[in-house]
């Protein structure tokens, strides 16, 4: 029985970690080419959750069409935020810290906007899955967790393919070290940046849908970007592989602590781990494993 419980916690931890991974990878992708921590990423998650809710309720469709809408919606939204909020500052060659601050202001704006429009209340998805939980050999596993895990793994595999097997993906990886030279080769760097934001937003869209389904939808849902933030630091800022591994570690750690010690100390432990990494291993898990993910683990 104890073993069963443990196994169940591991599955829950992995599915939580997989959502963190989706968010963290999108976050790390933008960081790797523009070198700033994009806090507006959280608003894309939050708005995608609302979008998925609206779409699935209005058109009475199942999980897959809703997922597709969230992917497209999240991606588009991230591109719009880049064009309106970041591009003007990049064109003026403003310091990176301004991009950071504007991204924070944008996330606050969108959070308050949704509160003003719809109120701070929780919205609940109608069931998009036929069964809510699987009972196997004494385990009770929420199906949404499994769907979350599956969708995240597929999304990450597709991302890997795009980054390593397509020209635009190679250009994204190249742009992480040099935003000027690609232009000389005929590559429109603004397009590369837009594609990067689209991918980042699409991943946020997936996580928004699943977070909305499991935690309900509310204006502060985007606050979960902080977990991804922690994961990217533990992973090594800018390293995608590190971010994924760290996300799963964080998901497991949080689930275990919540289950065996108590939910109140969970945030403290996460932050403590992050600070320990910052102090003793600032290049993160990627540095520990000697991981080269194709993007740099450049120090700031």
């Amino acid at each position: 029985m104890v073993k069963c419980l443990l196994l169940q916690q591991i599955i829950n931890g992995l599915s939580l970690g997989s959502v963190y991974a989706l968010i963290a990878v999108g976050f790390a992708l933008v960081f790797s080419i523009l070198k700033f921590s994009n806090f507006s990423h959280g608003s894309v998650i939050m708005l995608s959750a609302y979008l998925g809710l609206w779409f699935s309720n209005n058109f009475n469709v199942g999980l897959l069409p809703t997922l597709l809408v969230c992917i497209l919606g999240g991606g588009t939204l991230a591109v719009i935020i880049e064009k309106i909020g970041f591009k003007p500052i990049r064109d003026k060659e403003g310091p990176l810290i301004y991009l950071f601050v504007v991204s924070i202001a944008i996330s606050m704006f969108l959070q308050y906007l949704m509160t003003a429009l719809l109120g701070g209340r929780f919205f609940i998805y109608k069931p998009l899955l036929k069964t809510s939980a699987w009972r196997v050999a004494g385990l009770t596993i929420p199906v949404v967790n499994l769907a979350m895990l599956g969708a995240s793994v597929i999304a990450l595999a597709i991302l890997l393919y795009v980054l390593y097997r397509t020209t635009i993906g190679i250009a994204i990886r190249a742009a992480s070290t040099d935003l000027f030279t690609p232009n000389l080769l005929g590559i429109n760097i603004d397009l590369v940046v837009s594609v990067t934001f689209f991918i980042s937003g699409a991943l946020a869209g997936i996580s928004g849908l699943f977070l909305g389904m499991s935690l309900n939808v509310y204006p502060q849902l985007g606050g979960l970007v902080m977990k991804a933030f922690i994961a990217t630091v533990i992973g090594g800022l800018g390293s995608l592989g590190g971010a994924v591994i760290a996300s799963f570690m964080l998901g497991l750690l949080e689930t275990m602590i919540t289950a065996y010690i108590g939910g109140a100390v969970t945030p403290m432990v996460s932050f403590a781990v992050m600070i320990l990494f910052l102090l003793f291993k600032p290049e993160g898990v990627a540095g520990l494993l000697g991981l080269s993910s194709g993007t740099t683990t450049q120090k700031l």
Binding site: I89, F100, V233, A264, L278
Partner: protein
Amino acid sequence: MSSYLTSVLIFTGINLIAVLGMFLLMGLTGLLSFGQVGFMAIGAYAAALGYTKFGLPFGIGLLIGIVISLLVGLVIGTVTLKLKNDYFALATYGFSEVIKNVLIYFSSFTGGSMGVFGIPASVTLPLVAVIFLVGLVITRNFKVTKLGRNSLAIRNDELAAQVMGINVFKHKLSVFLLSAVFGSVAGSLLAFATYYIEPNLFDWNRSISLIVIVFFGGINSLTGAVTAGLALTLLPEVLHFGAEWRMVIYTFIIIVTMIFRPTGLFGRWEISGRQMMDWFRNRGQRSAARGRG
């Protein structure tokens, strides 16, 4: 003065004291800290618990808050100030979250997430005004002290400053501690300006609003920071929309300003007595010239 206006001004003044601390840190070291609210929480809880648990008067609580903030700041500063930019911002965010969670966790002493009740609202507008003015004078003059000048040298070119023999780390730590004191004092005042405090008063949103105020005014202009602090604290009070729409408009204005004037509204501009004299003199000359012409 109506009691509503008085209380608005008291909270504005307290906010401005915290802004001064933030301005010192950002203006002189270029570091973006989310830790300021952590020190505000320390100051607030030291004063509040000092009173409710031990019957200590406000002044003593305030001093205890400062001492604890300095000690904590010494530890946090020592470990975080070696980090740069985003890393530092993150580590300080971690610090303030840990403080918040400690306050929630040790509920038998701190009251947990329910907070601390029964604090006398004994802070008066003159007291806040005096402390603010003292803070303003310290901040204004800090730039011209040796410590301030060296700090600016570090911000402009850390390596060059190091070569010149400036102990970069020690300078950053001094500025960090000074800003922690400002934060702590603002926190203690806040506790005694309201009847109760809770850990969520010292959250991410408060950190952000402090940072945004300094950026909005311009990190190189004290005049800008103070004006922005006044404007952005009073603005929500002036905009008599529903409470939710205030924040929407507030953040919208900030975004637009940051995009179109990224150096802040004030850039490097400062009010000084001399400038004002010059301005009046020029005006006088111009009108005299006009008179002749």
